[in-house]
């Protein structure tokens, strides 16, 4: 049984990322799944840190409640109105951020920023977040995927608000044919 199950699991996992690599669709299946049913969405009681992330030009508004214990994220909840990329990124980050301290979170955000900028092929520590690699082709949408990170970082730093809209989109004249 093990001999059968193991390759099957591996094939499934490989298929997930193969889809992204070949089709280069802007919305990976995992992104769609997380955006439809985002994890750790809602309100959190006894939050120690909280912040609002907003990209007003897009109309995205995200709130995060975090409970920090001994310098690590013990629990968190996102909520708000936002596009599929923001929701999926918040959902994946919400799962990934548990037990991280501010330093580890900063490293995760840096890796993710490099991934969506196309400067990092894939990073094991990013897990499902690797599904955002297609954003290398969509510079104007990177700010969406980065908003939950900026919001969580702001909450931990004691800031009230965050946005990822200040930077203009990078230019690119390559034909996407």
């Amino acid at each position: 049984m093990i001999g059968v199950a193991y390759p099957a699991v591996r094939t499934l996992a490989a298929a997930r990322y193969t889809l992204r690599m070949t089709a280069a669709a802007p919305y990976h299946q995992l992104v769609l799944e997380h955006s439809r049913a985002p994890r750790r969405f809602g309100a959190l009681e006894h939050a120690t840190h909280t912040a609002d992330g907003a990209n007003p030009l897009c109309g995205d508004a995200l709130h995060v409640d975090v409970r920090v214990t001994d310098g690590r994220i013990a629990d968190l909840r996102f909520r708000g109105e936002a596009c599929a990329l923001v929701r999926a990124s918040a959902s994946m980050l919400g799962e990934r951020a548990i037990d991280l301290d501010a330093v580890a979170l900063a490293q995760l955000e840096a890796d993710f920023a490099r991934l969506v900028a196309g400067a990092l092929a894939q990073e094991a520590t990013l897990g499902d977040l690797n599904a955002f690699a297609a954003l290398a082709q969509y510079p104007s949408r990177r700010k969406c995927a980065l908003l939950p990170f900026a919001t969580l970082r702001a909450a931990l730093a004691g800031h009230v608000t965050a946005t990822t809209e200040s930077k203009p989109p990078e230019s690119s004249l390559q034909e996407k044919t």
Binding site: P26, Y27, C58, A84, T177
Partner: protein, 406 residues
């Protein structure tokens, strides 16, 4: 001669490219229009064979460049039926045209308590310049309301034309809603009260015949790149007596008669408002664009666009959960919409993956978005080179996106 859209599409090289492996469907014409080969080749030919600065060189190239450049002024004067070519000021676009009026006409005249009347559906280019001069003078910018269906409430506009109003500004065609405003009626009301009316014609010039004298307005602004010409070209038209009463906006070369450190005298209109080396190749390209649409026939373009508009409107209304913004009786083929549960940017990104270019966002019309209580919409804006088959593909792609995000 019939309107053979497949033949016409061949005049636009870009329309034959693919995006993400799919044939491009370009539905972002209200943002900027694609350029016919004639425009591209005219610009290319200028740089290859005639490039020189205008109005200052006596050599052959200078004469050729000046003559080709100034011929475009005649073409544009004719295109908008200006009384004189001197009333046609070349600008970088509508934004510069409106700013010229704001700083040269409004700023010296506005007093504390004065008002500039605009409408809720204006583009930021017809709001922010007035706010900037209002902030310096103590005047304020007042909007006239619109209906939920996106039509200006004419009686409310007229009611607001009080003695405090020193200038009114209205868009001819809304870039978000497609609404065609009753400019003649508004101009008549303004004229009766001695209030000059500026019309933002950015979206109108590509779709409607423009006759500034028949419209009865005082200022009219056009941008070239939406009119199938190069970017960085535009026109401010104003009645001669208004232009003569206005000081220059920019100072520099070209706009002077004599300069000394004791004082400077300015050139006559139109050059008084055209400091510095202009976008010479761009304007010569715009001349080619005017020739192109004129030869195609504005009436035939209008008929083709009306058919596209009605077809698209009916098709969009068949999409479940689709909310259309702007259902004026008189409108251009511009469709702003949202689909239940789908963010406008998600829709635009996923349509792009199907080769379909639409705009998503606030369309430089924050007050209008606030009026409808939405942060952003998706917008499909069509031109005469679009086809019914493209509309079908667009509707099919929307269905695909709905399924994907549901």
């Amino acid at each position: 001669m019939s309107f053979d859209v497949q033949q016409i599409r061949k005049d636009f090289p870009l329309l034959s490219r693919t995006v993400h492996g799919k044939p491009l469907i370009y539905f972002d014409n209200a943002n900027t229009a694609q350029k016919p080969r004639r425009v591209i080749e005219t610009v290319d030919d200028f740089y290859r064979r005639h490039n020189a600065n205008v109005s200052r060189a006596v050599h052959t190239l200078g004469e050729e460049a000046t003559s080709a450049y100034e011929a475009v002024r005649d073409k544009l004067a004719q295109f908008i039926n200006a009384k004189s070519r001197d009333e046609v000021i070349f600008t970088s676009g509508t934004t510069q045209a409106i700013n010229t009026v704001a700083y040269s006409y409004a700023l010296p005249r506005l007093q504390p308590g004065d008002e500039v009347l605009v409408t809720t559906m204006e583009h930021h280019a017809n709001i922010v310049p007035w706010q900037l001069v209002a902030a310096r003078t103590g005047a304020k910018v007042v909007p006239a309301p619109i209906t939920q269906s996106g039509e200006l409430i004419v009686e409310e506009f007229i009611k607001r034309l009080t003695p405090r109003v020193k200038l009114a500004g209205v868009t001819h065609v809304s870039n978000v809603l497609g609404t065609i405003n009753p400019v003649r009626e508004l101009a008549k009301a303004c004229r009766a009260r001695g209030i000059p009316l500026l019309v933002d014609g950015s979206q109108a010039a590509p779709h409607l015949p423009i006759d500034v004298q028949a419209l009865g307005c005082d200022f009219y602004a056009i941008t070239g790149h939406k009119l199938f010409g190069p970017t960085g070209t535009g026109v401010l038209w104003a009645r001669r007596e208004l232009l003569d009463s206005m000081p220059p906006f920019f100072g520099g070369g070209e706009m002077i008669r004599t300069v000394s450190f004791d004082g400077t005298t300015f050139a006559d209109v139109p050059h008084k408002f055209e400091a510095g080396t202009p976008n010479i190749a761009g304007f010569i390209g715009l001349g080619a664009a005017i020739d192109y649409v004129t030869e195609l026939g504005l009436d035939r373009i209008g008929a083709a666009e009306h058919a596209l508009r009605d077809y698209t409107n009916a098709a969009l209304k068949s999409v479940p959960g689709l909310r259309l913004f702007g259902e004026a009786k008189d409108k251009a083929a511009v469709f702003s919409f949202l689909i239940d549960g789908i963010h406008a940017h998600d829709l635009a990104t996923l349509l792009d993956h199907e080769g379909i270019a639409v705009r998503s966002g606030h369309h430089c019309a924050h007050p209008l978005m606030q009026f409808y209580g939405v942060p952003a919409t998706a917008r499909a804006s069509l031109a005469f080179y679009n086809t019914h088959a493209e509309v079908d593909a667009f509707i099919a792609a929307i269905a695909k996106v709905r399924k994907l995000l549901a």
